[in-house]
């Protein structure tokens, strides 16, 4: 009896240790004595595993990847930037392009022009719109990668059955959503209170030639084009699948993959999962199209990630070497072939081998080419936070989009958007 109790306790302890190992966080280390150790912060998104795998082949340093969920990533990076150099802080950070202005203003990132020059890097290989998002006050603070934009993903089989054509403008998109809604499903889109809804709104706004500010740099969020974008968003939410008000990007992509929605507005960074038979029911039938505005033009909110060196890194040279290596043609191609991430290197988007693997790439590149980036203004975060709530109000209530946008314009009148 006593022996059997001991056995059960031993098994329980082993199980606890095993589970502890599984849930002990996302740090993966490739240690090698004699080499510099680099601690790298990345988003624990769909590409984190590949980043770990690729990093393990970097020969100049021993790399430890710390992958953190998106909700905690910025907070953890900011905390690391405050740490004393060499105290276990991050050497390299994978930064969302929208955080770059804040990070560089605060002096958290190291300019890498000297390292790029010494390594003989030609920065013109990167898409200009994306590379420019890494340059502040004439200094380069990182190299761009992993461009993302919101595109249409649809189940071509469902479209064929319904006799529907791919929407070529926002009105056709609303009509398609309405058609499916009347038959029990609808369109999948991110309508949870959060930044995903702002990305969708901004793309609709940019596609029809609008922007947040007028020609003089004054806030113009109640303009005809902004109200129109908000109204399109409202209509799409009206004809969306039940539950979208609680959905962010991940849930939208899953709804499309699992055939809960025959059409969805997904982030291109999640499109690779549609081709995974273990995760997707639309492997053979999924197709992609640009997310178009009323004008029929598709323009992205250019969102991408930046490999950057933390200013408090104790291994700046090794960190810069790693950044340059991770964004080199060969390494980017390897990653794109492995999981179809969209690189910032122009030539890669024309590579036939890559095009065959990433069927959504033409739609993404079309949108990126006409895309705009969010302005690097100190108070842009205030506008974005207010937009998050306003779009949530539009989606979850009967408030007229025009009234909500006018109120937003009035509420933000006192905010300085000049710098």
């Amino acid at each position: 009896m006593r022996n059997s109790v001991r056995k059960v306790m031993c098994m329980a302890m082993v199980a606890c240790l095993a589970l502890g190992g599984v849930f002990a966080g996302g740090k993966t280390e490739t240690s090698d004595p004699g080499k510099p150790n680099l601690l790298v912060s990345v988003w624990a998104g769909p590409h984190a595993d590949l980043q770990k795998e690729v990093s393990s082949t970097f020969t100049k340093s021993a790399v430890t990847i710390d992958d953190v969920d998106y909700g905690s990533l910025k907070q953890k990076q900011l905390t690391s930037f405050q740490s004393v150099s060499g105290s276990g802080n991050y050497d390299v950070v994978w930064v969302n392009s929208q955080w770059m202005k804040e990070y560089t203003d605060a002096g958290y990132l190291l300019p890498i022009d000297g390292y790029l020059k010494a390594a003989g890097i030609d920065t013109s290989i990167y898409a200009k719109g994306l590379f420019d998002g890494c340059v502040f006050n004439g200094q380069t603070y990182g190299l761009p990668t992993f461009a993302q934009t919101m595109i249409i993903a649809y189940d071509s089989e469902a479209f064929e059955k319904a006799g529907l054509a791919v929407p070529k403008n926002a009105d056709e998109l609303i009509a398609v959503a309405k058609y499916f809604k009347e038959r029990g499903t609808g369109i999948a889109l991110p309508a949870k209170q959060g930044t995903a809804a702002v990305t969708l709104f901004s793309q609709l706004l940019f596609s029809d030639g609008g922007y947040y500010f007028d020609g003089n740099g004054k806030l113009d969020i109640a303009s005809d084009k902004a109200v129109q974008a908000a109204a399109i968003y409202d209509e799409l939410v009206k004809y969306s699948v039940e539950g979208t008000l609680a959905w962010h990007h991940d849930e939208v992509a899953e709804a499309v993959r699992m055939k809960d929605a025959p059409i969805g507005l997904i982030m291109s960074g999640l499109a690779n999962q549609n081709a995974d038979p273990e995760k997707s029911l639309i492997v053979d039938t999924v197709k992609y199209a640009p997310l178009v505005g009323r004008s029929g033009i598709a323009a992205a909110t250019n969102s991408f990630w930046v490999w950057a060196v933390a200013k408090n890194s104790a291994n700046a040279q090794a960190a810069a070497d790693y950044v340059i290596w991770m964004t080199s043609y060969d390494v980017e191609k390897k990653q794109t072939l492995a999981d179809q991430q969209v690189s910032a290197i122009n030539e890669l988007s024309k590579d036939p081998e890559i095009l065959a693997k990433a069927p959504f790439l033409p739609a993404v590149m079309q949108q990126l080419a006409a895309g705009k980036i969010d302005p690097p203004l100190a108070n842009f975060g205030k506008l974005k936070a207010a937009l998050v709530v306003s779009l949530s109000e539009i989606a979850s209530s009967d408030s007229a989009p025009a009234d909500v946008m006018k109120r937003l314009q009035a509420d933000l009148q006192g905010v300085d958007f000049s710098k």
């Binding site: 909700g71 910025k74 907070q75 900011l78 930037f81 405050q82 804040e102 203003d105 605060a106 002096g107 958290y108 949870k192 209170q193 959060g194 699948v241 039940e242 539950g243 979208t244 008000l245 609680a246 962010h248 809960d260 100190a378 975060g381 205030k382 974005k384 936070a385 709530v389 949530s392 109000e393 989606a395 979850s396 209530s397």
Partner: protein
């Protein structure tokens, strides 16, 4: 005239020994608790973001605190936080009392089996609770499956997708997680009530309700006060559960003070205002739960 005797400190006699023994603890309290609090308070009188430094130019006095009282989102977050706190604690009390009383009525073999099962949610982290309930509230989730069985659907109870029910939905998820804690504490309290009281009430012919209100409840009063204090502090600073479940939406209908403070610090880089919100949250907790607790203890002391 009587000469007053003065105390002479003596190192040889070891008079400083008690102080030296306490010194490590005092230093830890000073550096881990007092210093960050004072520094946070100081930062709240400036207007800086992460990486900013204190300078006379960035001193704004009480502006961050005054802004709080004119900020409609902050007011909404305060109301939501208080509603969440009272709703959560009320439900914890009622459900915890009912379940712990029910478990005591069970046969020992049954209660030994059921008690660990009932208390399991306590072991789950709040973020995971949020994720679990996100799937429960999903239109294809278990909640709407059962509601569908009785002819109801998402239009009858929109859960986290509507402003009218989002806060309630987060409160329900909180009940699921925290009621087990109340059950454990109340069960310990119930077991400490002398059996003779119940025997006497039985002889006097008291029914179950009268027995509960005249014996059980007064005997558990101290236990309820402790639970209220612990749950109160826990609910006023609620963040992770709501953040995972609704993100504070729709339309800020479930935003809490902690989520608003987080948003100000990490999304809008407004660190000083975020700290001011956090300090006001601390004061709110003290006013709602700390003062009644102190009063209760004082009245006990007087008795």
């Amino acid at each position: 005239m009587v000469k007053q005797k003065t105390f002479e400190w003596s190192l040889e006699r070891g008079d400083l020994l008690p102080l030296l023994m306490m010194l490590p603890t005092l230093l830890v309290i000073l550096f881990v608790m007092v210093f960050p609090l004072v520094y946070g308070l100081l930062l709240s009188f400036f207007t800086i973001g992460f990486g900013g430094s204190l300078s006379p130019d960035s001193f704004v006095g009480l502006d961050n605190y005054l802004q709080f009282f004119t900020d409609p989102v902050a007011m909404k977050a305060t109301l939501n936080t208080v509603l969440f706190s009272f709703g959560a604690i009320a439900g914890d009390f009622v459900l915890g009392t009912l379940v712990s009383l029910g478990l005591l009525k069970l046969r020992r073999s049954a209660s030994v089996l059921i008690r660990p099962i009932v208390t399991m949610p306590l072991l789950v982290s709040p973020v995971v609770v949020g994720l679990i309930w996100r799937y429960i509230y999903d239109p294809k989730g278990i909640l709407y499956y059962f509601l569908g069985k009785i002819g109801l659907g998402i239009s009858n109870f929109p859960g986290v997708t509507a402003a009218s029910t989002s806060l309630l939905s987060t409160i329900i998820a909180h009940w699921w997680q925290v009621t087990p804690f109340v059950i454990i504490v109340l069960t310990a309290g119930l077991l400490s009530i002398p059996e003779e009281y119940y025997e006497a009430s039985k002889i006097d012919g008291a029914g179950p309700f009268r027995t509960f209100f005249q014996i059980t409840l007064p005997q558990l009063l101290n236990v309820y006060v402790v639970i209220m204090l612990v749950s109160g502090v826990d609910t006023i600073k609620i963040f992770d559960l709501i953040f995972a479940l609704t993100g504070g939406g729709p339309n800020n209908s479930s935003i809490s003070l902690s989520i608003y403070a987080y948003s100000q610090a990490f999304e809008q880089s407004n660190l000083s205002y975020s700290i001011a919100i956090s300090i006001l949250t601390m004061l709110l907790t003290f006013c709602i739960f700390g003062i009644p607790f102190i009063k209760h203890n004082l009245s006990k002391g007087n008795r």
